[in-house]
């Protein structure tokens, strides 16, 4: 569970199927599949017929959910090979979505952040998009110096994959960027970098 009181971090309240929506788009990553699978009793054939599932496994975690999702027999069900391809398809899908569409996002925080960015760019209001955090506590972090984003950060400090600086993770989150803020840890004493701690497994 994410319990730290970080004011700028979104609150992931969990997903409940909205019976009033005319169309449902579930965007799921890894163990996020469970956010949908655990609501089987609410998924009437009528709802399922208007449901689109976009799913991506997360590394070795979450394998095996493809079959369970396929067994729901939703209107459409697609497993993406990578997060990037899923986001690309989501952009197109939302581009043609109408007013009665409800988008649901579940997975790690970095995944939710990236899918939310696509939704915001499509003109959706973030407060109307149910989200559920599932799986790893890994963070998506933007280097405040070079602006490059490093995915799946589990330690602090960590090395920016773009500029190579040693960054600590500030508890400050930008929805627009979909990431936490990474700040150089040894600016005052160059080279004095503490051992990384596994804070976000």
């Amino acid at each position: 569970m994410l319990v730290e009181p970080i004011k700028s971090r979104p609150v992931y309240k969990g997903i409940t199927v909205d019976p009033r929506a005319r169309r449902h788009i579930f965007v799921l990553e890894g163990e996020g599949a469970n956010a949908l699978l655990e609501q089987k009793d609410k998924l009437t054939p009528a709802i399922l017929a208007e449901t689109d599932i976009l799913y991506v496994a997360r590394g070795s975690v979450g394998r095996g959910y493809e079959e369970a999702l396929a067994a729901l027999d939703a209107g459409s069900d697609w497993t993406a090979p990578t997060v990037e391809t899923l986001l690309f398809r989501l952009k197109v899908v939302l581009g043609s979505a109408d007013m009665g569409t409800r988008l649901y996002i579940a997975g790690t925080e970095g995944f939710i952040g990236q899918a939310m960015q696509i939704a915001l760019d499509a003109g959706m209001d973030y407060s109307a998009i149910p989200t559920e955090h599932r799986g790893s506590l890994a963070r998506r972090v933007q280097c405040v110096h070079c602006k490059g984003i490093t995915e799946n950060v589990t330690t602090s400090p960590f090395t920016c994959t773009h500029c190579g600086l040693s960054l600590f993770v500030r508890d400050h989150y930008s929805r627009r960027i979909g990431a936490f803020q990474g700040v150089i840890i040894d600016a005052e004493e160059p080279g004095n970098v503490p051992e990384p701690e596994e804070l976000y497994l």
């Binding site: 009181p5 970080i6 004011k7 700028s8 971090r9 933007q142 405040v144 110096h145 602006k147 600086l165 500030r170 508890d171 400050h172 989150y173 930008s174 929805r175 627009r176 960027i177 803020q181 700040v183 150089i184 600016a187 005052e188 004493e189 160059p190």
Partner: protein, 346 residues
């Protein structure tokens, strides 16, 4: 009386200094001998001549050099200026307000002539004489907020008001105390204040937000904020922290007077007429310790404030490494006498 503008730098050789007259008008922010957060907002009304409140938008001897430093920051990092698309009306509101205030306060330096929507803006210190159509983007060399904020001292942000909250949706931020506009743009009031310690628990931000949401046109308000900076560096951004972080380790008992600066922000907030947005002007003033102790009352008081500052605030403000050496240096100038009421010099 015309201001004599100084030629000075805020980087490299750091030639920034305050003239004796400018020291006397420094906005010393401490009304007491100790400090804690408060919702310290007051009406932004004109004050006495010889103070920074003589005019509602203050222009001082550092104007030309500060604008040159801003241009250098933007050249290296254009992301310091950001404006979300729905903020264009608020940008024009801001341009009007800052032109009007500067022209009203300093007619010898700035002139604004309005003929309907056709406006002529003369900025003599920067050698600008432009005629444009108010509301027509194509008649300015850049967006209105960027244009006027390249000609106004202080960081500028515009916050949109909707859903009973405030949203930081535009800004020009080059003289900031360690926060990133690029990261914070689009955030609401609670979100962008997220990293500030102590104040959340005390309900400071809830009260402040409620107050700000109800601000009225023509009744601007102001508050102080402060921190400390090593060397007179305006751009202490997180982006450039690798460049200025080391400065904090360079303070010795011998160089405290020159290196250690009190950094005061006078934040003024204004309701804008057409967009209903709020304009935040965050004006930074720097004064080194040698300059500060030329005013005996400030020497006494600042020594006591700094010595009694709670540890969380010492850490948050980033002054841990040099607080003690500075307090020790200041102690030589504290005669132990009670300080008089108010913030102004005796």
């Amino acid at each position: 009386m015309a201001i004599v503008f100084r030629q000075e730098t805020f980087r490299d050789d750091f030639t920034y200094r305050n003239s004796p007259e400018n020291i006397r008008r420094f906005p010393f922010p401490f009304p007491d001998d100790n400090y804690m957060y408060s919702v310290n907002m007051e009406p932004h009304v004109k004050g006495a001549a010889g103070t920074v409140f003589e005019n509602l938008i203050d222009v001082d001897e550092h104007y030309i050099s500060e604008m040159a430093d801003r241009a250098l920051v933007l050249k290296a990092d254009p992301l310091r200026y950001q404006a979300l698309p729905h903020m264009m009306q608020a940008q024009w509101d801001t341009l009007e307000l800052l032109m009007e205030q500067q022209a009203a306060g300093y007619p010898e330096h700035f002139t604004l002539e309005k003929n309907g929507d056709r406006w002529r803006w003369i900025n003599r210190p920067l050698g600008i004489d432009d005629t444009f159509t108010f509301g027509d983007l194509t008649t300015l060399p850049m967006e209105p907020l960027e244009y006027i904020s390249r000609q106004t001292q202080g960081d500028i942000t515009i916050v949109d008001q909707r859903d009973n909250n405030l949203w930081m949706d535009a800004g020009m931020v080059t003289t900031q105390a360690d926060w990133s506009l690029d990261f914070d743009v689009g955030m609401n009031f609670m979100e962008w204040h997220g990293p500030v310690p102590l104040a959340h628990q005390q309900g400071v931000f809830e009260r402040a937000l409620k107050f700000l949401l109800n601000m009225q046109l023509g009744k601007p308000i102001r508050r102080y904020n402060w921190t400390m900076t090593i060397n007179p560096r305006l751009d202490t951004s997180p982006e450039n922290y690798p460049k200025w972080g080391k400065d904090r380790t360079t303070v010795t008992p011998e160089n405290v007077g020159d290196k250690v600066h009190l950094r005061v922000e006078v934040q003024t907030l204004w309701r804008l007429p057409r967009s209903n947005a709020l304009l935040f002007v965050i004006r930074c003033y720097l004064m080194n310790m040698s300059e500060l102790v030329t005013v005996p009352k400030w020497a006494n008081r600042f020594h006591r404030v700094l010595g009694s500052l709670p540890t969380e605030l010492v850490d948050y403000k980033g002054i841990t490494r040099y607080r003690d050496v500075t307090v020790e240096w200041l102690s030589k100038y504290d005669d132990g006498a009670p300080t008089s009421a108010g913030t102004f010099p005796d």
